[in-house]
Symmetry: C2
Subunit: 131 residues, 2 copies
């Protein structure tokens, strides 16, 4: 039963993490996500961590890795559902999840990702917009 499902929802992929992560499982998840992105042409990845009461440096690094891999494949990543205690611990540990965007709920994350997709389709230049 040790497998984290990667669900396709239109242009997005949804992953809910419920079980204790270990090395092999994390590698398999990275493998699954990258293959699904290239198979489905997904433009966004949603990772729900609302079941996690602890996010240690291992999980933090795994999230950052998935986000970086997805980015080079053309998909944005949003981590959703973080528990308040987890946010406190992360900052206290000095881990700010670099390169990972977050949102409070799956719905907010979907809006963020689908908004980004719509903007890209309109040819908006993100770098100029920030100037």
């Amino acid at each position: 039963m040790e497998k984290i499902p990667v669900l396709r929802m239109g242009p997005l992929l949804l992953i809910t993490i419920q079980i204790d992560m270990h090395d092999k499982l994390a590698l398999q998840l990275q493998d699954d996500v990258t293959h699904r992105i290239s198979e489905y042409g997904s433009t966004g990845v949603l990772i729900d961590i609302s079941s996690l009461e602890i996010v240690d440096s291992f999980i933090g690094r795994m999230l950052a890795n998935i986000a970086a891999m997805s980015r080079v494949l053309g998909a944005d990543t949003v981590v959703v559902g973080m528990q308040p205690a987890v946010a406190i611990t992360l900052v206290e540990l000095g881990m700010s999840l670099p390169g990972v965007r977050t949102a409070l709920t799956v719905e907010a994350g979907m809006e963020l990702l689908l908004g980004a997709v719509a903007e890209d389709a309109n040819g908006t230049d993100h770098e100029h917009r920030q100037a």
Copy 2:
């Protein structure tokens, strides 16, 4: 970490089951699902079981219970992602998941549920349609 998240996606709820079920967890899930339906006014429940390699009579009964509880609260339930081996075992065991609709993928399940919602909104009479 023993908690199965119930994610809200518009008018639907999405539940992915990844961990070994036991009595307490099943009761908590039933409790969560029914509360979320009444809180959000959800019209459909999607249960992804693609991670499950075994569906025994306990899980079968739990799925049927959640479907029945959701129905009396006005929400349809669709079980998605069943592995072929699970389907074979279920039928061999004489468990046909009565009252539970199934679909192959989350996307197909969403279409099924949102289609049913749209039909209800149009005032279609299901019983007459079947005659």
